[in-house]
Symmetry: D3
Subunit: 330 residues, 6 copies
């Protein structure tokens, strides 16, 4: 484990998407990407130079190896992956939409090797040795009781070892009810330092409506965590572009930032790139810069096909400082 | 023939389109779709659950079989297709444009098996047995005198059998003059219950300018048909999005509706999806719902590559009720 | 149900294959095909003009609808498909190999809607009404106890209704042991008229080695079925081409035939095309012609990408009569 | 017209082929190539450095312009193309086969701009001014009476101007009967110096069976032309490779040559590349080298997708001298 | 050389672009285009019917031949290309961006055959014989001292022969500093009739900020050339569309024109299409029409993938006269 | 550096190949692979589980990062890569051929960041710390004098540190003369333990003709190295398949082995996979097993598109033990 690495924990899937806005019923080919909220966060962190490791469980077959090939290629340490001979790799079929047709996800992740993990198998003290932060999300406990237990163990061990812990609410209606998501977050809250959520998730799961600057402190109080980060996507003009407005609220510290404007080439993974950027800033003790990094990284991610933020630090910095569209560089 | 089916009659073509907004002169591959106004209507009806049959004439070769494979796959009954050993399958080369380059169609449909049909060969009483409606469009009589005669026979037989008859004006400048289109419509009008046209077609063919609510009653009076439906596309903002405004006018009944906003991924087949939605509503005795269904189905169709409205009833219903863009579902 | 149709019963999957002999670990796109032994048989029968229906269970999602779109498109009646809101569509990842790399299949079909079927839900007397034959294979009982029960019920109902019943051994080591396959076949044998197997399967499952003409009578005696058909692929020259040698053995009737030579473009579905051809001949009371049809259809299938035998009767007839490669027709 | 150019005269088409050995009924894309026997000859000549011009008639639309773009790009002078506002561009759908499935062509060239040409419109003396040879093929007179007349005029004018004239029999069963092909050749023979045919064509059209060395003199005597070239493809081993054996017979001169061995990637255009090579050698007064060049060029062409021999003189020379497969050059 | 042709002089490259807005780090295929400012101008001129020739130096390998194939195919005379056995073909990797990710170019053109040219090798009097105009751009002198010398010789010879000379500033920060670009322009100015630049380039290279109508006369005075043309892209609405505003300023003549609105499918080559249109108008003694043609051609170009303006005169005329988006033509 | 790792040293390139046997002059897309002899060896070693590191120099741009992404993804440690701000990434254009058209390589690797390396910049003692072997090839010294010096330093440092050193002759006629290759090998020989070459290379570079078992001892004596491995490809039947026959000769040890038969899907990288397999066996003190592993790995590699041996240890073992083609596994 590289010294002072950030560790993320969660499931990865192969994502299959028809090209060129086609529908599944008409396409004869599917584009193959790798996806998974916590792996997306790890890749985004690695791309901006943060040492990062990803802990998961994968089936020992070509699909599982493909996941590691991509994670490792982008610079994520994968020694913490447990290989299993049973279970499958979860799949995610995504139809990218265009107004008024919504982007639609068809999860096929049941019975995955990850969902069937044996929580005790992860030696968290060893996996977290030398690390400075642990990140997971609400998807993990929603996958299976075993995953919920593993998330609790991971967060507990991280807390005990003095690491910063973060948790993205990541509410997925296809994986559970709002009540279940709330219960999971509440159960884990004592081990969470920073909770991240979209305004829509906060409303759906906790009934907290309003602007990020209103929701963040309310949710912080509700859960008793150190810090809450709330972001909201705001449509611009006729809705073909948007920006992300975010607020991070801690004890004596409330910071806010708006992202650059972006058009949606591929909406998936934007929130994960935001989380990565925020964590990077936060762990360098600059949450304001975290919001700026997160906003810029999410905006860049959404211009890139697939779930991964295939970016480099220079363009993130340039976007943070410039804040506007560069046009054509040559 | 499934009981109470809607029967459509017209030509189908293989449509060939360069991918990724390329031009024919530069592309090395062509995407293959199936197209044809009346078949598009049939497919859209089948996709929302209406029993539907399509009557046509196809050459007995791989291209003709390909048409039936797609029509049948989407649930359209094709027993009424006459197979011919002579003639060819019409082709349609389409370059999708982007401002300011227009989407351009190059018809290559002359001498098709359909255009060379023998009108007497269709046993209309049998083909329409048990059906409740017949639909065709102005393209059919414009293809050849034999096609014009077949359209007249089909509409006459349908009228005689008590079916609802509908006719989409579908004026195509590449197939004939406005005067020819007007003459064809006037000749068939005594057998038509519902005439459907865009505002642009009504202006070009009948010299009737104005909003749908003005044009529809004027054209109804002019042709003496029971009902006229006029729709118009209205650009929004900078013109990258649009909505469709439509009016259906019958004796003591004028209904109007605007469609959801949509961006144009592929403009072809939008009008046919609209006609399908309207017919479905009308035949269920709710013309207002027909306009809403038509607007939603056309908006969805235009987000999908190809001429076919590859939709399902649930998303149409959701769009009709919600009316706005769903973003990302997961 | 079309009068005198053949009914097949089994699972269908989406098959995903990297293009151009790539491996799953390197490809960025996957070609999408529909596959499934009994559906492959149904499609092959439909393509040569036999009325045919397919009974199965599919999830009500875009993947399930995609299966029906293809089955129906090729002319297979699908009214007997039960739609389910639970369960998934099975997937099959296939890497096409090239010497010395084997073609490799990665099944991901566990927990499918089909495997979770409720056997009692199929009203077999109704589904088989008017039919003349039922076909299923050893894959069906290997999928789950419920599937095994459904296969037994289907064969039993068919036998009771006087239909011809056929069963392709289709041993899949990834689905069960040879002993399990043997037990399943023996349990169903009293309801089976014709059992079809490759020589390799007969050896693996029943320990019967030898040429088709030796194995067929031995296996017939062993199982007590009316007729056994055994085929074997024989490499030619350096092994880049092959032919299929088959023998069908019934009471006073032993017929044999060799297929045309073929090169392997896509090996999957060849056995299913053979079964379809044999059944067509047999049900027209000419088992010799069945072997010839089966050999020709399997040889053609293996020249076509995907599992389906996208052929037409004329080319099958020509190949049966000519027996050799035509080169270029123009 | 470049001094001493070779002029070819005939129709060009857009050729559409499903990729990866797919069938038309299953493909969702078609690869676009340009094809046409006499244009293929012109391109092959241009590629080996012979000045060459192509005379034809094309519709003034993107498809027609695409043809000229490719012809001109490969170095063929196209000033002799007549542009027409009527008529269409002929199409050729080709399914590349694999044993035992034949490569199949579906012509869709009826009513083409070329077939509807006005023979008198070509100013042959001007078009042939400064040229040294004219080449056309049996496809041209088979397309329409007008084309037959134009071919006669072209050959007549060339003969009168002292050019060498050549005619590839190119019998196409889809365009006419053997009797028609024979009649056309016999009518044109008085204006032909060199007639080129495959052994199969000579057998089908003139009933002359046998080896090239037997057929060539017999056909020469029959038609009264100066020179006859006959070639035959000979399968090697299991038939996955072949070579071409050819004989050119003139008054006191009989030359023979075998081509290098080749595997068939794309069989179309091979004969045209052979004709080009032979003409190049002949016009440089070395018919033996013509056979060698033709054999090498046809062998190379058949390793290249599409109808065009996209080769360069160095690799032709190397193959003529080496005669065997080079493997990998690096 | 066609009489009265326009001659352009500069480097061409193979441009490689990941499809579908992918990044180089993720794509497994690259789309291949031909690019190069002066060749782009030549192609755009040829497409609207102007006789045009392109002078350059290319390596004698498949990449070099590919360039000529495309140039010649679009109608550009390439006899003035010098073939070299040394040097490479320059490459240009382009990632098309989407807000806020900039379109990014990675030049790989060092040590190209063109950059290594021997200036004395071009026989400019012969190359310009019969021509009426010469065009080059600031990229040429920036490539190497030898290229700078060749540009000077070309412009000098053109001036001497009485041709119109034009020079597009084409400042590329990756090829040199603003000071170097200024020095090159100033050194060549005595031989330049018309200088073309974007407002951004004029600001970067000469420190002249402002609207085209302000910058053009100022720069004209500064350089002492006959005519200066300045254009600026103006974003519209939310910046997903733009138009180009241009001003041409000569002695007693200032003309201005705005282009039609356009969306950016592919931004590269837009300026070159503008230059081509302007030159065509100017050389026909109508600089106002030149701005209109240039604006329309650039707008069309930017709707087309790749650097080339694959347009036809009719659609340019229609756009100039209509000025707005045609939608769908059929 | 993982303990006991094998270290390889050499250049990597982006390899660009037209799909489907197309030529560069006709393709509109290029498939992108990563290539480079010593990186290929590293990837093949990593794929079979050997800890391995690759030392090189790459430009800090998307192409350079792409190389590391793939190397790291397959498990190769890349911390020893030096990133440079100057120089380019070498490119390799490859046209895959088919009889009689040779597979052709167009190197575009001049002025690469690697060729311009500063030899002193590599801290070899640190890079080799803990390693057990160093591998490089004759390509490295052929690239530039600086590369030759770096290769000498690397081999010298490895020898000093007691590592096994290996050197693949890898003669490339496009990079130098046989004499230069011989001189380079002779100069490095005192630091080389194992020299690997093909029979063809041994003949071209050292004039040693004959079977591997003859050439290996002769070359060993000539160069004075501990061990020489010679392999030769032997065509089978009609030459569409081959096998590799190899001999490794050391002091009292001569071992020989033939590979399984293979067909050539992509010939590049086969020798590198062979070297990897041999080294793995040798370093585990079983050179006979090394030849078997190498033969099996090269045979598998040549069935896979691209330069990398994307294999897994299980299939290598199975092939070594089985030795024949598995057909279809399911």
């Amino acid at each position: 484990m590289p010294t002072r690495a950030i560790v993320t924990f969660g499931e990865a899937m192969v994502r299959l998407t028809p090209p060129n806005l086609q529908r599944i019923e008409q396409t004869s080919v599917l584009d193959l990407y790798i996806a998974g909220a916590e792996l997306n966060v790890a890749v985004a962190l690695a791309r901006i130079g943060e040492p990062v490791a990803w802990v998961s469980r994968l089936p020992d077959n070509p699909l599982g190896r493909r996941v590691v090939l991509h994670a490792r290629g982008h610079g994520v340490a994968t020694e913490g992956v447990e290989w299993s001979s049973d279970g499958r790799l979860g799949l995610l079929f995504v139809e990218l939409g265009s107004r008024p047709r919504a982007t639609a996800s068809l999860y096929d992740r049941a019975e995955s090797a990850f969902a069937q993990l044996d929580p005790g198998v992860f030696d968290w003290p060893a996996l977290l040795d030398g690390a400075r932060a642990l990140h997971t999300s609400g998807i993990t406990p929603a996958l299976s009781p075993a995953c919920a237990q593993a998330a609790a163990e991971a967060l507990g061990a991280a807390r005990e070892a003095g690491l910063h812990t973060s948790y993205d609410l990541n509410f997925r209606a296809r994986l559970g009810t709002p009540g279940q998501a709330r219960a999971a977050a509440e159960a884990l809250a004592p081990s969470i330092d920073t909770l991240i959520a979209s305004a829509g998730e906060a409303a759906a799961v906790f009934g907290l409506d309003g602007e990020p600057a209103e929701v963040a402190p309310a949710l912080r109080e509700r859960l008793g965590v150190t810090r809450v980060v709330i972001s909201r996507r705001i449509d611009i003009g006729d809705g073909l572009q948007a920006r992300r407005s975010a607020c991070a609220c801690a004890d004596h510290e409330v910071v806010q930032a708006d992202s650059p404007e972006f058009a949606l080439v591929d909406p998936l993974g934007g929130g994960d790139a935001f989380s990565a950027g925020f964590l990077s800033g936060l762990l360098n003790e600059d949450p304001k810069r975290g919001l700026e990094l997160g906003g810029a990284m999410a905006a860049l991610k959404q211009s890139i096909p697939g779930d991964f933020a295939i970016i480099d630090p220079a363009e993130v910095d340039e976007l943070v400082h410039r804040g506007v569209f560069a046009g054509t560089r040559r």
